[in-house]
Symmetry: C2
Subunit: 423 residues, 2 copies
């Protein structure tokens, strides 16, 4: 496997970013067919070399065991032949997505005959800063390359060996394709300074995408001068209105809280209209018991439900990402909106109601990437919405909001064609 290992050269971060930028110029001009062929080649070579990847992954796993990582973290870190096959299949799916590059978004001709076109072009170089999951290495690379962008990867130190092995395999695969191997750069240095350099390398990196916990995202946002696509933190609320249908409400609460509690579109706070909760408290209690949900509630919640831990400010602010929930009781939809305005992270917010006036008030007034009437917040997801793979879920307002598919990795260019027009 020496040929694989030798592909990770000892360059500094700036050199790597410059190589990526140079490669991005070539990549931007490739056809969809050429990019797809390269992705399919990577998929095949990943499967063929999966033994090498798993071997390197074992090093990360045994280091993780020594550091007494939680089973959840170990699970995120762990690769198997099946998981590597999933990576490869993921890349094959990306080849099925429409290439956004070259799309003419609009075109018109000025009175003087100047032809104006708005054309989609790649952003250039994407800086991806992420934590333990090695799958991000493959997924982000696939989406970046398909949309004509080079990528500089800075993965978490816990998955260093796995990520290095995956990138070595990608580099080997790219040797026989039209995509230059330099379009995929992996920063092997684990010191914080290396990531810090990415934050300010505006001349070579066009956008930073942090994927991971709130602390990681905060660090990037606060320190970067390169524009950031902020992803992920979801303190999502389900408001059960006075006019909520009982069956729908219970199904949505259950799904949003228990289907996958650790993901960002899971619910963290239930807000109940007082009158509704009074009528339906036994059913709500049965739901909590069924799943062993730990309830942190306000005073009114404690009056109506058993075993309520008194909620403090932290409960309204934080993501539990587990089978715990904060419960707030309100006496109007306006009060629910005010609570969400104060504590929401502008990710996904839902109202359960049969009253269209209350629904409209909620959907219009709540400022979030996704607002729902009578559905689970779990649908804020690229594949659920039919976008295919996503690079993340944007919780910012600029550039892209909500699940980001390939178009979020592009920008536009005005292409003007004339025959001597002047102003």
């Amino acid at each position: 496997m020496s040929t694989l290992q030798s592909t990770t050269k000892q360059l500094n971060v700036k050199q790597q970013a410059k190589l990526a930028q140079k490669a991005s110029k070539k990549l931007a001009l490739l056809t969809e067919k050429e990019k797809n062929e390269a992705l399919l080649t990577i998929a095949d070579v990943l499967e063929k070399d999966s033994a090498y990847i798993l071997e390197e992954n074992k090093k990360d796993l045994s280091a993780g065991e020594k550091k007494c990582f939680s089973e959840a973290l170990m699970d995120r870190l762990r690769l198997t032949a099946d998981r590597v096959k999933d990576f490869a299949d993921g890349l094959r799916e990306v080849t099925e997505l429409q290439d956004p590059v070259g799309e003419i978004l609009s075109g018109w001709t000025l009175d003087n005959g100047l032809k104006v076109e708005q054309v989609r072009v790649p952003l250039g170089v994407i800086g991806m800063i992420y934590e333990a999951r090695p799958n991000v290495t493959v997924d982000a690379t696939g989406l970046a390359l398909k949309s004509g962008n080079a990528i500089v990867l800075k993965g978490g130190s816990n998955a260093l060996n796995s990520n290095k092995a995956i990138v070595a395999v990608i580099h080997k695969a790219l040797e026989n394709t039209k995509i230059p191997a330099e379009a995929v750069q992996f920063i092997a240095s684990t010191d914080r300074e290396a990531a810090g350099q990415l934050f300010t390398m505006k001349e070579h990196i066009d956008v930073l995408i942090p994927r991971g916990g709130g602390a990681l995202i905060k660090t990037v946002v606060e320190n970067a001068t390169v524009p950031v696509l902020e992803t992920g933190v979801g303190n999502c609320h389900i408001y059960v209105d006075q006019f909520a249908d009982v069956e729908k409400a219970l199904a949505i609460l259950e799904n949003a809280k228990t289907d996958r509690p650790a993901v960002c579109n899971a619910a963290e706070t239930f807000i109940f209209h007082e009158a509704w909760l009074e009528t339906n408290k036994d059913k709500v209690q049965a739901l909590f018991e069924k799943h062993g949900i730990e309830v942190h509630g306000d005073e009114k919640a404690a009056e109506l439900l058993p075993d309520v831990i008194p909620a403090n400010e932290k409960d309204w602010v934080e993501e539990y990402l587990s089978l715990a929930v904060a419960v707030k009781v309100v006496s109007s939809v306006e009060e629910a909106v005010t609570h969400i305005e104060r504590y929401g992270t502008k990710h996904s917010e839902a109202i359960v109601t049969e009253n269209s006036e209350n629904a409209q008030l909620f959907l219009n007034a709540v400022d979030a990437a996704a607002v729902y009437q009578n559905a689970s917040t779990r649908f804020t997801d690229g594949s659920a919405l039919g976008f295919g793979a996503e690079i993340g879920i944007s919780t910012q307002k600029l550039h892209a909001r909500g699940p980001m598919g390939l178009p979020a990795l592009t920008t536009i260019k005005y292409r003007m064609t004339g025959d001597g027009q002047v102003r």
Copy 2:
């Protein structure tokens, strides 16, 4: 005029931003008609109270005289009854623009019946940081309000009295409209700390837009954690190819350099193909002489043209914004592209050629908001392209690129309507 002056209250920046944010929630729900009525009212009151504005403007002018401002700066600062009328007419034109808010960009229904809509919504609160021109106070306010956004204005200290007077008039006008006066906040404090507070007020401000010189923009980009819409610096190039038509080339060079040398879409560097310049040097020289253009050129330029000042690195990098030009001579379109890649600011870049292969190479390879074949870079402008008034010209790749009209001041929201869907 005491009622006008009293509307500027003594609040700190954070209090002002919070008031703007609160007002933005109401403003976001207004109809286009309500917003247009408010803008027309502002226009009328600006005209009616123009004597007060001019009186306050005189204070800035006499302070400027004492500080020995250049005539160009004095001119930017100077208001007249006609200019105030232009402000009012500008607002009236904004009422003619289509309101982007509420537009449904796309909509579809998932197999499970969940209805998904992508709806345009206002960004929320815009922070505008700008230099001497008092017209920005009116223009930016008009565009922000029309697109349902509140605005926090931080103008230059040189125009402080003029800006305060304009905002006082706007506040007075808004009293009789549906738009809350708090939606327009003006930061009267001239200390740098006040602007600095805006840079990091992510909880209350959704985007910062700096308008002014390169130093101002750099300060904002480097210090802001609030997302920035970067505008304006244009180091624009005209490349005259070997296959350029002589008449078109001369007309484009003349227009791009001399029509309005101080604006960002004016040309700063001419790149000539060697063979073309050898043939047409006398005509080029005649053009330079006609306008008294100062030429800073490389060695080859000095060989072919008289009175060439040797160009140094600074000449390739900086905007002259005056009747000076840098001249570089190359022997291929690739060499021109490489020069632009190195020194361009990704604003507007043009090739003059009748050769379609060279044109395509240039248009595809040059990374800029606008790329031109056979037309002047001066068309990179909202009104020239038919967008109506613009909030600035974005030279960044995220969110908006090129001239920014009203849609650049909006984001989207996914609005989901279901009947109990869960995943």
